[in-house]
Each structure stands twice: as C-alpha cells, then as structure tokens.
C-alpha cells in the first residue's frame, strides 16, 4: 500500500497525524459515542475488525448491538438498513468491496434512493454506506472496481470519495450526520497514507465542498482518492517547470463546481484524474461543468486520466498497465502545459 505522507498544511485547529484508516475509525468511534441511534452493520466488521481492518477494535468497545456482523447477504442488509433508516435509526453499512453493490443494487437504486421522493418527502433516509474501491492489491476484477460513478449518477444518492485522512474523517462524520443516503468511497490503497487530522469532535467536511490541496497558477488537476496524493507528488516533482494546482474533489455528488471553475479560470488548463473507467463517467461530468461555465477560460484541450475501460486484471504487470497513476497525470500535464 502507498505509505507516503500528505503534504503539511496549516490548519487552524489542533491536529494529529494519523492514517486514512485510523481517521475513518476515529470518525466512526466519535459518531457512535455522540449518537445512540448510530450503529454499524456489515460483514465481519465485529470481532474480525473488517476485512481491510477499518472497524478494528470498535466491536470490543461498542459490542454486538452497535457493531453488527451480518450474514453474507448484501441485498438483505442493504434493504434492512434502508428500512431501519426510514423508521428512526441511523445505520452505517460497510459494503465490503464496492463490487458487491452488484448484489445489493435493487435495494440501493429502487428503495434507498427513491423512497423519500416517491413518498413526497415523507420518509427520512439517514443511511451511510462505506465501501472500498480500487486496484493495486492484485485483488482481481471482482474486488478492485471503482464504481462511484454509478452512485454519483443515480438520483437520490450522495457520493463522496476522500483523498486525504482529514477528508476521510470529516466526510465520514458528515455522511453519518446527514439525513440523506451518502456513500463514502474509500480507496483501499490509501488506508496507510498519513495526514494531519483535526481532533475536534465536531470537525466535519461539508458534503459538496472540494479542497485545494496544492495551489498553483499554470494547470488545474482535479483528482480523487489515491490520485490526489499522487498528483500532489507529481506537482512537486515538476514544480520548477510548471506550477500545478491540485484539487481534491472530495464530494462527487453534489460536486463543488465553483471551486473547480474558479481554478480553471485562473489556470486555463484542466486535467481530471479519477480511477473510474474513462467512458461515460466522473471525468466527463467534471469536464462538462467546466465547459458550461468556463469554456472561454480554457487555453488547451482538457485531459482525462482514468482506467481505460477494462476491468482490473490480476497479474501485477497487467494491473499496473491499466491503473492510472501520478505518472499518467504528469504526462497529461506535459501534453497541455
């Protein structure tokens, strides 16, 4: 796993350095402490601690009722979480791998996403779904998908995809406190990435706000998840030649169009770096919004960095071939800068 440190930033609040994994766990712990109606639901999240060890020791702290192991039954527990959210509690689901949305999609798209609307606003849906995405572990095609475009695309669902430890904590907490269904897409390759995280228990990151992770004047890179850190590293490595601004989109739906547009108005150049497949996707959405609002600020064709419409293969050389990286971001910058 990528074990680099995030760039140091000046934050106004007190912070502690921790990994993305620890930041998410801290968010879960704080929200379990804060609100008795919050509980965790998922496969092997209890004594086992979660297959990628995110829930860790929370079961020991909070017990069976609040850290609930489920049968291997994604449609069942996704549906139960939907019904529970509509009837007064605030479930936080761990969907072990985002690929498993496939077996629970009916409850996600026809129930969770539509209930409030179909019922004329007379149903609350305070449910959070955390799930892990991405290649890089040799987990092959059914455990490495990046599916957040489906969810961000589907009306009635909100989707966030943090690229830093602080965003991971703040967005997880905001998702749990939201009265809307929010999917938190964690990238499995950055669980070990370290960053400064505010320790204030009321720290949240508002859903729908991007963050400028590195300021620059020449090119804007809008990145998500693992590619945020890799884009910042790339930007530093070429800083003598080109001044790159890196934005962590953080929230995919709603998307902070304003921050992105303002940056492009300054730089005139845009790269969109996101691990999802390139066609009909997250990249296209960001590109469309920029051309709608900042077309006349563009000085060069917009570039996309993503997975070239393949599934994630198993063998390391194959996986490395299709997995987008900081190197791909550098090449994209060179094409336009």
């Amino acid at each position: 796993m990528t074990a680099h440190a995030e760039p140091e930033r000046e934050l106004e609040t007190e912070t502690e350095t921790m990994t993305v994994r620890e930041a998410i766990r801290q968010a879960l712990r704080e929200e379990l402490d804060r609100d008795e109606d919050v509980y965790l639901v998922g496969e092997d999240i209890g004594r086992f601690g979660g297959v990628l060890e995110v829930t860790g020791d929370l079961w020991e702290e909070f017990g069976d009722e609040r850290v609930r192991d489920t049968p291997i039954s994604e449609a069942g527990f996704m549906g139960a979480a939907t019904g529970a959210a509509a009837t007064g509690t605030r479930p936080v689901v761990e969907l072990m791998f985002s690929d498993f949305a496939g077996v629970s999609m009916e409850q996600i798209m026809n129930q969770m996403a539509k209930m409030r609307y179909m019922f004329g606003g007379k149903a609350e849906m305070p449910v959070t779904v955390r799930t892990t995405e991405g290649g890089g572990m040799g987990a092959a095609s059914q455990h490495s998908g990046t599916i957040h475009t489906w969810i961000a695309h589907f009306p009635g669902l909100k989707a966030v995809a943090p690229g830093t430890a602080a965003a991971a904590k703040g967005l997880t907490k905001a998702a749990i406190r939201s009265n809307d269904p929010v999917f938190v897409f964690e990238n499995k390759m950055i669980y070990e990435q370290q960053g400064a995280v505010p320790t204030d228990e009321d720290f949240t990151v508002p859903i729908g706000e991007a963050a400028i992770e590195r300021e620059g004047d020449d090119v804007t890179v809008v990145a998500t998840q693992r590619l945020v850190g890799e884009s910042v590293q790339t930007a530093e490595s070429i800083a003598d030649d080109v001044d790159v601004e890196v934005i962590d989109a953080r929230s995919l739906y709603p998307l902070d169009t304003e921050t992105i547009v303002e940056s492009v108005e300054k730089t005139g150049r845009l790269i969109v770096a996101d691990e999802s497949p390139l066609s009909y996707g997250t990249h296209a959405e960001i590109v469309a919004r920029v051309q709608e609002e900042a077309f006349f600020s563009l000085d060069a064709p917009i570039q996309r960095v993503g997975t070239p419409d393949t599934h994630m293969p198993f063998s390391p050389p194959l996986e490395q071939e299709v997995l987008p990286s900081g190197e791909d971001v550098r090449e994209a910058i060179e094409r336009v800068a």
Binding site: D37, Y39, E65, T70, P71, S73, A75, G76, F77, M78, G79, A80, A81, T82, G83, A84, A85, A86, T87, G88, T89, P91, E106, Q107, N110, Q111, M115, R116, Y117, M118, F119, G120, G121, K122, A123, E124, M125, P126, P155, G156, K158, S178, N179, D180, I207, G208, Y253, P254, L255, T257
Partner: protein, 379 residues
Amino acid sequence: MADFDIHSTAGRLEALRRMLTIRAFDEEAGDRFADGEIPGFVHLYIGEEAVGVGTCAALDPDDYIASTHRGHGHCIAKGLDPKYMMAELYGKAEGYCNGKGGSMHIADVDAGMLGANGIVGAGPPMATGAALSIDYQDRDQVAVGFLGDGAVAQGQVHEAINLASTWDLPAVFVVENNQYGEGTPVEKQHNVDNLSDTAQAYDIPGLTVDGMDITAVEEGVAEARERATAGEGPTLVEAETYRYRGHYEGDEEPYRDDAEIQRWKDRDPIDSFKERLIDRGELTEEEFDDLQAEVEAEIEAAVEYAQEADRPTPDEAYDDMFAEMPPEIERFATAARARPDGGERISDSRSSSAQSSDGGERSSSAHGSDDGRQGGDRR
C-alpha cells in the same frame, strides 16, 4: 391493541367496514382507470380483503407494514384515508405522496405504512429493517412484510427472512398466495406444497391459513405478533386467497377461466363474514345495506375530492429528492419557479373555465400521455 378489536362486536363491524371500503375503493379505481382519469398502472386487491384487514386487526396502530404493488387494501386496512389515497391515484398535490408516488407507491410512514412497492419482493427487507429499528430501540412494536406468492422466489426475500430470523427480529412475513405470480400459477413457480414450508429453512414457524376467512388470518397473525414481541423472532404466515381481477387493470387473463374465478367467489371473504355476523345476531341485512351505502358514499366523495384537488405545480418535481437539496437540482427548481406556469397550483375545479379557453391542454398534461398504458377498456 389494534385500533379495532375483532374480538368485539364493534371491532367486527369495523373490520367489515374496512373490507367493504377496500372493495368499493378498488372497484371505483378500476372504473376511473378505465375512464382514463387515473394514469399509470393499477393493481386491484378485490377478493383479498380478508388478508389485509385480518392482518391489521392483529396489529397495534403503531406497528409497521411494508406493502406490495397491490397495496390499496393494505393502506385502508391500516387506516389510511381513502380521500388522500384517491388523490394520490389521480396524481394530485393533496395525495399521500403529493402526487409523486401514485398507486404503486402510496405511503404514510408516520401511520406505519412503509409504502406500496413496485418491485416484487422488495417489501420484506424493508420490514426486516423496521424490525431492526424496533429491536435496536427496544420499542414495543412489530413490522409486517407483505409479499405475494411470486415474491417467495425472489432472492432478497430469502435474505430478509434469514436476517430477521438470525437476529430474532420482531417481524412477521405475510405471504398473500393469490395463486398467480402475474400470469403464472403458483405451482409452476415453486417446488413446495405450501409456501409456508419455506419457513423450515429459517427454523421459524410457518403456517398456512385460509385467506378468505378474516378470523383465520387474524388468529395466525396475532400468534405471530405475540412471538415477535416476546423476542422469539419472525413467523411466516401464508394466506391462501384469490384476486378476482387481473394482475393489472387491462390484463386479458388468458391463464384462467370463469369457472375457477367463480369457485373462489363462492367463498367470498366479505359475504361469508357478513353471513357470520348476521348468524350471530350482530348485524341485520338492513344494517349491512346501510353500511354498504355509507362506504359507497365515502368512496364517491373521495373520487370527487380527488377530481377537484389541486395538481402539483411543475416546480414541485424538484422537491423531496434530499433532506438537503444539492445545487445541481436547485437551479432547475429556481428556473421552474420563475416560469409563468411554474409555481402556481391550479385545482381542476377552479380551472374548468381556463380549460375551455385553452382547449383543455392543462388537462392532458396533468394526466400524462396515453402511450404506455396497459390495454383495458378505455375511452
């Protein structure tokens, strides 16, 4: 305690009234659909009244039910007001869902009605979830998931019952076996003699009751409710019943004949319950006729209310997507409100003169286009 106690005379008369209300509502809904007044799809509950009312007779008012696409009967059994139901069928702003749901999605979560559901088999996971909330917060309630015989073959139904039984949740699953999953008979969809046999897979009680007999249904569900509230987990109750109408209005029903339908009508749940009440001296023919007339007048009033109620304004299409509206939708809502026709509700009664002056254009837009509707005897 149920809001009507079927173990008392008054409660039995209320049960009879609800069954009559369901039948009158659905007969009227069928006619108004055929007239072209009600858009969309309509699935009628006629013939199955004893199952919905018998089930709700065994429930407390704050218990939950999760319904199916054939949900009108469940709504009325649970105590929803036919007036707002009919307004919903008409797509009016005053309907239960402000006109966003229609026949297949009527809901009133505050009244414990978690929604009719257009997806076969999607209700049981919802009931399991409501039971999870109840269990988690130690509330004295149960959640009932209604499902049809066809839904028993759905994977998510298995998952929902397995989860509820593994966690001993206070849920009851009521299978309305009306003999057909759409047009396919039950024996061609399942390999068990009774659908309640599937309960064995979860080590929970499974019982099959006569779904044409309201007291048999009430008894079965009451037993299930007692187990659920005692922390003993869910029960699967199969009620054998029959729908007199097609799967949907307009269904040509090539899969059955009149003789079969008549055999079930001979055991009509309303007729038989009425006879029993007369035999017990709790009801006279005259009193029944009065009750029937009252119910019919109520449904007639519901139709009038629905016909005259306000239509939603175009900008309301953007409401209720989220608790917190994202800018992506807000901009469309703002634009709609700024249009001359965007934000003003017009009731059909008040707009009748406007309709004559604009050639009835409003009427056709409010009722949707005609294509995509299913067959039927329409104008």
